[in-house]
């Protein structure tokens, strides 16, 4: 497998604890080879971003990890147990939100807890907290069709956070929020990664976003999809969120990723 490792991947040598591992995963949709022999490890407590051109199989990989799709071959392990279906250890933020149009914001956010049989008052209390966290306070009783795209996306985010899973699978969770909110969410995400011992698997199209929030970036190339490169930005991680965007290493990595992806745009 052609993988170049960043210099910062030194601690690869140590025994890193992986929350999720994908081993030689292949997935075909009829004749379309969406994933071919893809292997990738996701360190516990860290944020790994899947970055790559549209249609390269990011959503497919995420759904296989979630247990929503079965791979044609290969396997996924979460905490060293092979995934056979969805589980309480994983929560999913959907690219297209997947909100119940007939349910209010609070019921949507509490829906994961509702399906787990949590009592109504308890789950609404929990949902309320996450609604505040994503900045939707006051919209508890609105319906999805009354919200903007970005607000709907935040409902989906709150729903995934509310079930308190150890692995969060986020499929372009900030794609529909405005730039200001997006930056705030990126900062929130960084502090979430820092303070909670959760493993994040994050999909984005934005190179800057990937470099800003990730401990590890896996660059996927399409047809059939494989991991072409793994980058571990590390130098600027603890320099405070305000300074990251000015850090030379940050800018370097952004440039480097852009040059390896640009051929797929042209």
């Amino acid at each position: 497998m052609p993988q170049t490792r960043d210099a910062a991947a030194l601690h690869q040598a140590h025994d890193v604890d992986y929350a999720v591992t994908a081993h030689k995963v292949s997935k075909n949709y009829g004749d379309v080879e969406a994933l071919k022999d893809l292997s990738l490890e996701f360190p516990r407590g860290q944020l790994t971003t899947l970055l790559g051109p549209s249609g390269c199989g990011k959503t497919t990989l995420l759904k296989i990890i979630a247990g929503l799709l079965a791979p044609n071959s290969g396997e996924i392990q979460v905490d060293r147990k092979t995934v056979t279906g969805p589980g309480p250890d994983r929560a999913f933020v959907f690219q297209d939100f997947a909100l119940l149009p007939w349910a209010s914001v609070i019921r949507n956010v509490a829906f994961g807890l509702e399906l787990r049989g949590v009592a109504k008052s308890e789950r609404e209390g929990i949902a309320e907290k996450y609604i505040q966290d994503v900045g939707l306070g006051g919209f508890e009783n609105s319906f999805p069709h009354e919200l903007s795209g970005g607000m709907r996306q935040r409902v989906g985010l709150a729903r995934a956070l509310a079930v308190d899973a150890r692995v969060l699978l986020m499929d372009e969770p900030f794609s529909a929020v405005d730039e200001q909110t997006r930056r705030k969410f990126q900062e929130d995400l960084l502090s979430l990664v820092q303070h909670e011992n959760k493993t994040f698997i994050f999909v984005t199209h934005s190179i800057e976003e990937a470099v800003y929030v990730s401990d590890q970036i896996a660059i996927l190339l399409p047809r059939p999809s494989r991991v072409s490169e793994i980058i571990r930005p590390s130098g600027f991680r603890n320099r405070g969120s305000e300074n990251i965007r000015r850090d030379p290493e940050y800018l370097d990595i952004v440039d480097r990723i852009w040059s390896s992806l640009r051929s797929y745009v042209e």
């Binding site: 979630a66 929503l68 969805p86 997947a98 007939w102 509702e114 399906l115």
Partner: protein, 253 residues
Amino acid sequence: MRGRSLYLKLLSAVIVFGAWETAGRIPVSYAFPTFFESMSALATLFLDGTIFTAYAETLKPLVVGVAISAVLGIGLGLWIGLSEKFDWLFSPIFVVMQSAPLAALIPLLVMAYGIGLTSKVFVVCIMAMPVIVLNTSGAVRNTPSVLKEMGRAFLGTDRDLILKIVIPAASPIIFAGLRLGISAGFIGAILAELKITPTGVGDIITYSRSIADYPRMYAAIFSIIVLAVLFLNLLEKVEQVLFKGNQRGYASD
């Protein structure tokens, strides 16, 4: 918004009744009474109590037939929509039923079940059920797959998925099917009374025609239409209460 739609409804009623009155006065046919003649005949029907005894008779097969069609129709529709095998087995039956010439089937029903309530209930069911079944199964099959996926990702059981995702998602189309089915059931109930044995409102219509009391005949027909409209409006209210926030802009009467 609300006031405006009420205003438009009143306006359309005035136009329709005005046209009726004019057509009756020309007259387009000696058998076509004016609006006011018909209304006064209706008032008489109410005052002498005829209409109440008539509806007590007509509503029996209608209510029983519609209830059976709704319960069985939605149940079968859910089953057909959820299982491919069932779809193969049952969908064709309802497609045939929907397009069958009912008038030709009535003699067969009478032969099999006599001229009593059973036959009439059957007529109502044959009219009402197919559209309910086909709408329900179609809606169930078209549940957005992303919502079902979401339900599974958050650990919903099959039962959760059906009760909390599939049925609410399908409900606007199920209700649309119910509305169509109930309208068809009204037609079926009257048809049964005209073709099997004249009872209830069908009897008023048949008898009035035979003695050439056309205002009374049209009054009876008019009362059926009013009852159907009232009932469909009630159904819509029920739907709005049950599935708030599900109004995705389909026509409200």
